[in-house]
Symmetry: C2
Subunit: 486 residues, 2 copies
């Protein structure tokens, strides 16, 4: 068992600093491990002994009848060095230090942090933290963390130099029913750095995209080398903050990170194939894009829209992001002419003005996808207009059944488009508004959840679809430039 | 009664082209007017006569026993000129032409459109459209529109050169419980232009912010003059599309608009005090900002955060947007020292690390707001941590009551911060995640609705709060530069 497996697939966990005081982290973390349903053996440790709930509390590590795979440490700063030493003496090789108050608060803390690593390494032990939120590994139902969020197993891995941002990412994924493979809050990175986890996750079969929140690097060259290798295996999507003086100062207070030059970092991203995004919304949207769509071969896009304005917004956004809104060739126009009304615009975006048949959206998508002249399709509006009508008509006694029927109809219409996308091996990216039957927003929520279960997503705004596609094109070109067929 | 009052406060409406065929716009618009609860007199007109539902259909305008204030026209293109002539002869002075197929489809259509205006003007009649979605005026319960959305009365006015984008804006406002004063879909603007409505709305007592979606100008100079006057009265927030060749081409197909140079337009915005935004998300967020907060005097911001990473994201975003994340002075730091734990960062953002008392958020906000050195506060995280605990504990039989209690607690904690904001006359802008008790997203929805009812809003991401504040600072500076105290 490698050291990383001890972090993410531990058969047993010791929690040093476990507490029965609900106001303390030693309680909340224990509570989260238990609530999360961890199936391995759990050993709370506190010199006071006794019980917390059903669990026996061990007075010291020595009393534990085995060598735990993982130790999670929440003891106060003054007791940290001793705790790590005891872990080492016990033979523990993987340790998460939640406790804060080290390099981020000043010189003395930094020196203690260095000693922490020295002690750990003298025993062949590796450390996550200090000053971190912990980690989760849903496949093992392990949620050794400060925050109260229990995502299901799924393809998204999160490496975050901020615990709270890491959990924001997880909660966002949960809200659309995407699950997580692993989350690591790296904290001050006294020993293991963000890039170590990127490397591990690039070979982790449960992870399909790696989302990173980065405040700064401890070793820029190593970061670059590792992510360059990782990005050839799966998308590495990254927010890098501390771009400004104010942000950089905040980052230093936060995790003692040195942010470095933004221009240099952009160069690093280009060369390492890192997909850089600029806020959390983009991070999520781009992540879903990679999970749900084949990679585009190039940047030529066909757009179909149920409304003119959305089409203009999308065309503008595409152009600004380097996507080519292709001029449609005569054969394409002629094929569209066969079922669109005489006065349609004969332009890209294909604007489905009033008068188009109800199944126009999938028909246009197929025509745009099957011709050589596009690499991707953006579809604005739901794939079946019937849904709006059924949900609008949901006020009667059988209203809930009608809404359920609309949901089924919606998901199956998306599924048909997904089949087209697979058939032609081109991404078809949706943005649409969902109906809100009876003013209840849960229809959208349920629809998004049902879509996510089949690796499908629908964005809410046209510029989001364009942004996601542009990032996918960028990544595809990177892979192609390194000789990888996409 | 002015011509604009006839559009927005009509005592009677004639619908030319009314239909009982559910597939036709002549049915759907009639249906929307009726569903919306219009309280004036409604006259469906169709040569076939008969009845649609409970309504008598008039065979011609002549048969209507009064001169309707407003005519809404949905007859096919070939019948338009005749219909407008008949409206003129009847003495109608305000007319909305929904029908499409004019300047946006070519030369012949453009010529017909010109004739349309000529005929209207010969009778002293004004036109909205053609090729538009109609208008709504919730204060009169008038929803003479193609789309199925019935927002309550409220402070947001929408002027849109795209009907579907206009309704996207309305639905977004509805989803957070903000109501609308008026919406105008201006279509091809054969007669009345977007700027005419901006002018009307700037004097409309029901409107507090004006949101515009603009594809192009028919008369740039006039647009500039009118919006310059309007922006001194209330915020005019605008998306301008057609910035790129692809977008511009799509806009021309859509409403025959000529987009013009983007650089020129940016200059126009600066000089006219227009608040320019770049996507619909920004449009909504900035609009809510103006509705909910006093204007900042300057660009100096204090940030309080419940998590380090969010603070870094906000500080970065503020700096990039020209806001100054002020260095906190010793008196401020000393006052914060009195209740924050010894290891707090003594920096801006004020990072409420573990160990701060539960009422720390409002206390820090008050300290940041009352000192001269800030013009605004950004608060990251909910104002009371108790909500998370109560909702997390909502699994038992009394779960729903606990969630209701949490909702009340949340709203009252926001209200207290709002009182501080009023006391010190500085905006306090929130971004936070909401708890999702039992996995049900409605808590957030209900909370946002309850907040909106008291003119409060909470953004979901730190960079959104920074963006909104930056736009408010820009507008405040514009007003100040024109001699207006803010």
């Amino acid at each position: 068992m490698t050291e990383f497996n001890k972090f993410f697939e531990p058969r047993s966990v010791a929690l040093l600093g476990a507490s029965s005081d609900i106001r303390k982290w030693g309680y909340r973390i224990l509570h989260n491990i238990v609530t999360g349903g961890y199936t391995g053996r759990l050993y709370p440790v506190n010199p006071k002994g006794g019980r917390i709930g059903k669990l026996e509390v061990y007075k010291s590590l020595e009393d534990i009848p085995e060598v735990p795979d993982l130790a999670v440490i929440v003891v106060p700063p003054a007791g940290i060095l001793q705790a790590i030493k005891e872990c080492g003496q016990k033979g523990i090789k993987a340790c998460v230090v939640i406790t804060a108050g080290f390099a981020e608060v000043g010189k003395e803390g930094a020196s203690m942090q260095a000693q922490m690593v020295e002690i750990a390494h003298s025993f062949g032990m590796r450390l996550i933290g200090p000053n971190c939120f912990g980690l989760m590994s849903p496949s093992r139902m392990l949620y050794a963390q400060m925050a109260n969020a229990f995502p299901p197993t799924g393809p998204i891995a999160v490496v975050s130099q901020s615990g709270n941002v890491g959990f924001t990412i997880v909660r966002r994924a949960m809200s659309t029913n995407f699950g997580c493979s692993r989350l690591i809050s790296t904290g001050n990175e006294a020993d293991l750095h963000a890039e170590d986890f990127v490397e591990y996750l690039s070979d982790d079969s449960q992870t399909r995209v790696i989302m990173c929140y980065i405040e700064g690097f401890r070793d820029g060259r190593r970061f670059f080398e590792i992510t360059s290798r990782a990005s050839m295996k799966k998308p590495v999507i990254m927010i890098k903050v501390g771009e400004t003086e104010a942000g950089s100062s905040a980052a230093h207070s936060h995790t003692a990170a040195l942010s470095g030059s933004d221009t240099v970092f952009n160069g690093v991203c280009r060369q390492a194939g890192i997909i850089r995004v600029y806020n959390l919304e983009e991070l999520m949207n781009v992540g879903y894009g990679f999970l749900c769509h084949p990679l585009p071969q190039g940047n030529r896009v066909g757009i179909v829209t149920l409304g003119g304005g959305w089409g203009v917004l999308a065309a503008d956004a595409c152009s600004k992001l380097g996507l080519e809104v292709v001029k449609l060739s005569e054969p394409v126009l002629k094929e569209l002419d066969t079922f669109l009304p005489a006065w349609w615009s004969r332009n890209n975006p294909v604007d489905l003005v009033a008068g188009a048949p109800p199944d126009a959206v999938p028909r246009v998508i197929e025509i745009l996808a099957k011709y050589e002249q596009t690499d991707a399709v953006i579809s604005l509006g739901l794939p079946t207009p019937a849904v709006e009508w059924v949900t609008a008509d949901s006020m009667g006694a059988d209203g809930d059944q009608k809404i359920d029927a609309a949901l089924d109809m919606l998901v199956s219409s998306f599924k048909k488009v997904k089949d087209l996308s697979i058939k032609y091996n081109k991404p078809v990216i949706f943005a649409a508004e969902f109906p809100v039957p009876k003013g209840d927003i849960r229809f959208q929520h349920r629809a998004m959840s049902a879509l996510a279960q089949q690796d499908m997503v629908c964005y809410s705004m046209p510029d989001e679809a364009a942004m996601v596609l542009s990032k996918m094109v960028g990544y595809s070109r990177y892979l192609q430039s390194r000789g990888r067929a996409v």
